[in-house]
């Protein structure tokens, strides 16, 4: 049962939050923080067990012949840990950010439920369970996207749902079809479809359906349309959507799909991995180029996300062990980098009402710590050593070269250059003198500032410790190894 706790604890936190109602802010904050901390502790303990080789699992019978089950393998725990730990950080930020907002009970309740769903996606032991949590994630995010209730938010929410449910439908059909074809298929490193022979066309279609389903949340071009619009959500939500839970659920689904459902071999043999790789490569370039032209800060970050998520997809689709590990590592690394940026964007918007790149001048002088953190994240994203981004990109690049796809390497390099192209102007603009009346060095609310510093620090730490056990990069290598026969160079 312990293995359910990463799902149940946030869910319970959400229920308590709803029950507390809008008035009791302190109690709500306490409950949420305690929930986050306890969940983190649980996840960490699971990680320790998992490193020791003990994979916990549990299943509840639901449908005939199908169980609703979770298992705590390293791969899933990586995503789970990212989500849970960053939940705690985001909570602190959100408590500051939402200080005067309305409907906070609803906000924090659904927030907690999102994390529960993300943890469910992470730990799901089979595609059906994964699908179930995937859809719950869509549903619980919707109220967060439309939180403000403005017509713009409602429109964005409608678009988000349209994409999410469309993807969910594809996923549903794919998963059902697969189950009809192959019976219950629990995730197995290296692939679970060994029993299926023939049915090549069906398997290709199913792969397409599943990839499309995950691709929606993974903002795989051309399924990315919802992401920029969803920016209307409050900053903590944007962070959660774009950095942690939602989009990562998509790419995590891709990782499970390629590595543990079809398996790298079958994926390559069917040719579907290659197709996915081409699509992802296109997404990287497309996202980066479009990001260059975005005036709105959050939109620029969003397109950056589109590009970065495609990194992960591309890495997965290359079917080479190192690239796969790099992709998994980038899942964690990108989370901390991008969350830093969204926190910053949120702080700027909330404290200074700055939303456009053109409004940035003077900001660096006004909020030096915040902007420094942003800079760290930006450089990390561009792959400057020794920051976190570099570590994952290195793995990806090596994997690409090794896996016989040198063109992918080119894509990575080009995109790194483009990242510099869309990040550096932000920094330069913020350093220009500008007209922000308050005294220099006045940062935002400390409850918003410290989380930014923390996550920025994490991008440095992850980069520096990339070779050490327990760091995301090492973890990713360990977790991905079984899918490639356990061998890791």
């Amino acid at each position: 049962m312990t293995v359910w706790l990463p799902v149940l604890l946030p869910a319970l936190t959400g229920v308590v939050t709803f029950a507390l109602g809008d008035r009791r802010g302190t109690a709500r904050a306490a409950v949420n923080l305690v929930g986050a901390i306890v969940s983190s502790v649980v996840v960490v303990s699971l990680v320790i067990k998992s490193y020791a080789g003990e994979v916990l699992s549990h299943a509840v019978p639901t449908l005939p012949g199908l169980d609703f089950g979770v298992h705590a393998d390293l791969l899933g725990l990586l995503f789970s840990a990212v989500a849970t730990v960053l939940w705690g950080v985001t909570l602190v930020y959100a408590i500051g950010y939402m200080d005067h907002a309305r409907d906070r009970a609803r906000f924090f309740g659904f927030f907690a439920w999102c994390i529960a769903a993300a943890n469910g996606v992470a730990l799901a032991a089979d595609p059906i369970t994964l699908f179930i949590f995937y859809e719950i994630l869509s549903l619980t995010t919707y109220p967060l996207v439309v939180h403000s209730g403005s017509s713009e938010a409602i429109a964005a929410g409608r678009k988000y749902l349209f994409y999410a449910l469309g993807g969910g439908a594809a996923l549903l059909v794919g998963v059902t079809w697969l189950t009809v074809l192959a019976g219950p298929v629990p995730f197995t490193p290296g692939g679970a479809l060994a029993s299926v022979s023939g049915h090549t066309t069906e398997l290709r279609i199913i792969f397409g359906l599943l990839a499309a389903g995950f691709g929606v949340k993974a903002a795989l071009v051309p399924l990315h349309g919802w992401l920029p619009g969803a920016m209307v959500a409050p900053a903590p939500v944007s962070s959660l959507l774009h950095a942690v839970a939602v989009v990562k659920a998509g790419v995590f689904g891709m990782i499970r799909l390629v590595n543990e459902l079809y398996g790298p071999e079958l994926s390559s043999a069917l040719g579907v991995a290659q197709a996915l790789a081409v699509l992802a490569a296109f997404g990287i370039i497309f996202g980066s180029v479009v990001a260059l032209r975005q005036e709105d800060l959050k939109r620029r970050l969003a397109y950056s996300t589109v590009a970065q998520l495609s990194y992960i997809t591309l890495g997965t689709a290359l079917c080479s062990p190192l690239a796969a590990a790099g992709a998994l590592a980038h899942l964690a690394h990108h989370a901390v980098m991008k969350i830093t940026m969204f926190f910053t964007a949120g702080s700027l918007a909330e404290t200074l009402h700055v939303k456009k790149v053109s409004a940035l001048p003077g900001v660096a002088r006004r909020m030096p710590v915040t902007m420094t953190s942003f800079a760290v994240a930006a450089f990390a994203l561009a792959g400057i050593p020794p920051l976190a981004g570099f570590a994952s990109k290195w793995l990806l690049g090596v994997g690409a070269a090794e896996g016989g796809a040198p063109w992918a390497l080119l894509v990575y390099v080009a995109s790194g250059a483009l990242a510099i192209g869309y990040m550096v102007p932000i920094l330069i603009a913020s350093l220009r003198p500008g007209d922000h009346p308050e005294a220099a060095g006045t940062e935002s609310d400390p409850r918003m500032l410290w989380p930014i510093v923390t996550v920025a620090a994490l991008s440095i730490i992850f980069g520096l410790t990339a070779g050490l056990p327990g760091s995301p990069a090492h973890w990713a290598l360990t977790a991905i190894a079984p899918s490639f026969g356990g061998l890791m160079p």
């Binding site: 005939p64 719950i136 109220p143």
Partner: protein, 493 residues
Amino acid sequence: MNVVHHLPALLVITPLVGACVAFVAGRRVAPHVALATATADVVLAVLFAARVLAEGPFRYRIGGWGAPMGIDLVADGMAALFIVLTSIVGLVVTVYASGYFRSTDPTAYGHGLFWTLWLFMWTSLNGLFLTGDVFNVYVCIELVGISAVALVTISGGPDALRAGMRYLFASMLGAMTYLLGVALLYASAGAVDMATLSERLVPDTTAATGLALMVAALVLKTALVPAHFWLPTAHASAPTPVSAALSALVVKGSYFVVLRLMLDVMPDGYLPGAATLLGVLGAAAIVWGSVQALVQTRIKLLVAYSTVAQIGYLFLVFPLARNGRDVLALALTGALVHATAHGLAKGGLFLAAGGLITRFGHDRLAEMRGAARAVPVLTFAVALSGVTMMGLPPSGGFAAKWLLISAALTSGEWWWAVVLVVGGLLAAAYMFRLVAILIADAPAETAPAPKPVRTEWLPLALTAAAVLLLFAVPLISDLAAASTTLQSAGVTP
């Protein structure tokens, strides 16, 4: 006497006695009588389901004659499932109604009779679910029809009366057509007992015509497109507890008989086109009902059209059921899960809609903005019911859709899966339109102040039950396996 041996009979007699007592006792005492009856019925229903699960299907011979001379009640898993569903939704509706009818116009004389009419409806539904006799079905559907019409018209406004009339005429048409079918069937096979019929039926014109007429009539009573014309106004004009009961339970009554006729009574290969036709109509219902729901401007009509759409799913079981016993088991279980999930969710949704109408004093959707802040629990109930309607996990609706899609893909008739997926997306479209309105920010002057509606937890309880139904699916699956249909098909649990 041992109560356990007579559960089928008692399930019909208890609400009937309750109805009589509530009538005799007068309007003050009637709510208490109804509540007591409802509670007793829940207990009986659960005992009944437990017995069916433990011992498998059995027949209860009324009068000791046994079919074909007498009337047999068929106690199987399918019946037990619907009876339990009825009892749960019924109990909630009863509790809700005790608040609802207290708060509305005391000069409406009919309101004092609500309890009696409602218990009569309960009797007739239980009777319908239990009976194994096609003529007895006729009497039961007349009981259902009359009580439903009376409940629709109970508050007596022009709209309700008009809707009630339309409902009554649809009921009459349906009941008469059904009876004609029974007449032909009896003329051909010389029996009205379902089990006897299924043994004796030979593929002759008369029996085929009879069965076709009966199914057509029941389809009309179930409001499958294109015979749905009476449903939206009737369900939307009725008092809220009645709407809930109608949408959640009453349409299931006639559907249940269609299940029995098509799957139990009809021999294999009989009326080959009928199953396909029902499936096609079901698909049409899904699309048409959803599209209509999408353009409604009044909340109850939206919900009622959603019922039209959701009914469509139930009929997809028939084309699928012809593809061997494994697919039959999948499809039937799927249909049963869907009926249960929809019953719970739609009951809750109507109660929630009623709460919103009470809260806002009107039913115009466009003016319900800001409800999420004023009545968060009701909004949440609406959203949860939406989860089931869309068939999203972890709801019972999802389980149903999963099973039906599995059945479709297993049988190779993948186009039904397409229908199911499209239906889910359409449901999402209209449900999120509703949710978006409720959740939208209201201008300060029109936004209602937060004020709890007394019974708002009831709809939430029902819709939450619909969502958590996923975890009861093994139970439903067992009940389906204990149905005469699957038992005779040789499916083992």
